[in-house]
């Protein structure tokens, strides 16, 4: 599987165009939202709730795709699949990748929003 870019520049440009002054708010909302979801994912993993892992990863994936973070989106989809087949070990392993990718995306987006 070819690695997608951290950020989809085209999608972000369009979002910026649509959101105008609210682009900043959107980025902050996404980041806050995502932190909550990462926390939820960890909770679900700790509780061994594969179903909750799948659902949370699915929602996370959606907002990642929408904001223009396709690589993080793909990681979320992989976690969703793992949750669906109740492969918690695989989900646990992906969790680290998700957190690492999220850190990258956060840095890039914050750089973007102050631009």
């Amino acid at each position: 599987m070819t690695e997608k870019p951290h950020l989809d520049e085209e999608a972000l440009a369009e979002l910026q165009d649509v959101m105008e002054d609210e682009f900043e708010v959107l980025i902050q909302t996404y980041l806050t939202d995502s932190r909550d979801r990462i926390a939820s994912l960890k909770e679900a993993l700790a509780a061994g709730d594969a179903d909750a892992v799948a659902r949370t990863a699915h929602s996370f994936k959606g907002s990642c795709i929408n904001i223009g973070a396709p690589r993080l989106g793909d990681l979320c989809q992989a976690a969703e699949q793992a949750g669906k087949v109740a492969d918690l070990a695989r989900a646990q392993a992906l969790m680290a990748d998700i957190e690492a990718e999220f850190a990258v995306v956060t840095g890039l987006l914050e750089g973007l929003s102050v631009r």
Binding site: D8, M19, L26, Y30, D33, S63, N66
Partner: protein, 590 residues
């Protein structure tokens, strides 16, 4: 296309996705309500409603699919498009969104152009549905109104176009209505002289337009029949009326049947109906074909209303039908037709009633196939006595009110004799007396017997014995027609005098014609004691009738003037204490 502002409800548990979508939609000019999950979306929809709903497929509390079902059920008949927002990529998952009641889906990331295009498409669909629903509701309401109106109209129609005496034992009919109003009409009314008048009509079209035409026909028919007008008079009136009121292209095929049970004859006029049939014992069935244009086509001066007379006696049957009988279709599309009627009548067994034969053949032929047209089949059997009496007028006022002392003279002269029947007018004058009104049948019989004898025998000098033979019967009526057309210097005078008596009243009628008269002083039929046979002026039956109904019958002058005295009694009058003999008992003194 002008973008229309829609009220859009969105639900997504992701704050950033919700923010993006809400901003996108607002930029496109719509008003947006946002919910965090399915339950909140349903609650918002219940409270505020929406034109269109965008739902994330997977949400906590209530997911999108369940919310879609709730919202659709809340929307009822209204079309509220539901579009699923999804990052689902599995085809089966996407299909499930639609199966749960969604109308479409929109995948993340959102594309502004596709979003706008979808909203517009769904708005068009929504509006179309709304317009259809409005039209449907309107149509339903209009239909309900129409049915209400038709039911009311039907009630009025039934009051005017009642079935008269169709329930008589010697009448049979089958009528099949295609709608509330049938294009066929069938009326029957007793005549004051004890005879019967039947009208069978088939209007072009059916439903309300046909009923509109049928109403005046019913009015005219029942009004005139009861007053003693002849079938020809009624036909002329109907034709004139329909000609005036019906639009071009609409008319009424019809047949008039005038039955005289006592004289043993029928008169038939057929304008545009299938041939009718006369069944006489020992003779092959005689067709009664249409010889005239339907009613409502010809102007009065071109309309010919003369009925063709046929002898008919007890046990004989007349059969009439409308087009629907001929238009019965077999399953292969062939029509029953006049040939079908003739075929089944040819095969008729001894003792089978023609009505049953035709009806059965028709049913066998069409074998449950739909009747194509309004259909009426009618038969009348000749019987000894009609057994039909004019219904006494309800709520009759006191027999003593109204005119009781009066006299009048009425003379019909020259060509008017051929064109005008004075009997309804004379009857009408007499009917002003309440005591006579209850005896309209007897009064009409007296007047018509006097008039017909004065005209046919006194002036036209037609021998009454001609009517006895089948050949003579036709000859009699042809000759009557011919001689009537040549009458010029002749006339008939009626003198009517009514006086009140303590026990009721007395009507004196003299009828004088300009004919030669006869030697009444020496002729047996004119003498009280004479045997009752045919005379030069009066057929035995006619004289018998006069003598039975009237208190006295007297011949004057050279035999061209007859005077009758007719007494009527109050129902409550005391019995014969005032020295007056009972009236109508054939007493000889005067």
């Amino acid at each position: 296309m002008t973008p229309s502002c829609l009220r859009i409800l969105i639900a997504d548990d992701s704050d950033s996705d919700r923010l993006i979508l809400k901003t996108l939609l607002c930029r496109l000019g719509h008003r947006v309500q946002a919910a965090r999950d399915g339950a909140e979306a349903v609650e918002l929809f219940r409270r505020e409603g929406a034109d269109l709903v965008l739902l994330d497929a997977l949400m906590p509390r209530m997911d999108g699919m369940e919310a879609a079902r709730e919202i659709k059920s809340l929307a009822g008949d209204r079309l509220v498009p539901v579009i699923f927002l999804t990052s689902l990529s599995d085809a089966e998952d996407l299909a499930r969104c639609l199966a749960s009641g969604g109308d479409d889906f929109l995948t993340k990331p959102y594309n502004r152009i596709i979003l706008d295009a979808k909203l517009k498409a769904f708005d068009r669909m929504r509006r179309m549905h709304e317009a259809l629903a409005e039209q449907h509701a309107l149509a339903r309401e209009r239909n309900r109104q129409l049915l209400d109106e038709q039911t009311t109209a039907r009630r009025v129609f039934d009051n005017v176009a009642h079935t008269g005496c169709l329930d008589a034992a010697n009448i049979r009919y089958h009528a099949s209505p295609l709608s509330i109003f049938n294009g066929d009409v069938l009326f029957a009314s007793p005549r004051p002289d004890g005879g019967l008048l039947v009208f069978l009509g088939d209007f072009t079209g059916h439903g309300l337009p046909a009923a509109m035409g049928a109403m005046p026909v019913a009015e005219i028919f029942y009004g005139m029949a009861a007053k003693g007008f002849s079938g020809a008079d009624v036909l002329r009136e109907i034709n004139q009326k329909l000609k005036r009121i019906l639009p071009i292209g609409m008319f009424c095929c019809g047949a008039m049947l005038e039955v005289d049970f006592k004289a043993g004859q029928i008169g038939i006029w057929n304008g545009g109906l299938p041939e009718g049939w006369l069944f006489r014992a020992g003779a092959s069935p005689r067709p009664l074909p249409s010889r005239h244009l339907p009613l409502g086509i010809l102007p009065p001066e071109q309309f010919r209303a003369d009925l063709t007379a046929y002898p008919a006696s007890t046990g004989d049957t007349v059969l009439l039908m409308t087009d629907g009988v001929l238009e019965c279709q077999a399953s292969d599309g062939t029509l029953f037709g006049e040939a079908g009627v003739r075929r089944c009548l040819r095969r008729r067994q001894q003792g089978e009633h023609p009505f049953d034969v035709v009806f059965q053949a028709m049913a066998d032929f069409s074998h449950r196939a739909r009747e194509a047209d309004d259909l009426t089949l009618f038969s009348l059997d000749m019987i000894d006595r009609t057994g039909l009496a004019l219904r006494p007028e309800p709520g009759e006022s006191s027999a003593l009110s109204g005119p009781s002392e009066w006299r009048c003279e009425y003379e019909v002269r020259g060509s008017t004799l051929a064109e005008f029947n004075p009997l309804p007018l004379l009857l009408h004058i007499c009917m002003e007396v309440p005591g006579l009104r209850a005896r309209s049948g007897e009064v009409y019989l007296l007047l018509s017997e006097l008039y017909n004898n004065a005209l046919e025998h006194g002036i036209l000098r037609l021998p009454s014995d001609w009517k006895r033979s089948p050949d003579g019967f036709g000859q009699y009526y042809r000759e009557r027609q011919r001689r009537l057309a040549e009458v010029s210097d002749h006339g008939i005078v009626f003198r009517l005098h009514h006086a009140r008596k303590p026990w009721g009243g007395r009507l004196r009628v003299t009828c004088e014609d300009t004919g030669d008269g006869f030697d009444h002083a020496n002729h047996p039929v004119a003498r009280d004691s004479g045997p009752v046979g045919d005379g030069p002026r009066y057929a035995g039956r006619g004289l018998m009738l006069l003598k039975r109904l009237a208190r006295t019958v007297t011949f004057h002058g050279r035999g061209n003037c007859v005077e009758i005295v007719y007494d009527w009694r109050l129902p409550s009058a005391p019995s014969i204490t005032d020295g007056c003999p009972p009236p109508a008992a054939g007493g000889r003194d005067d």
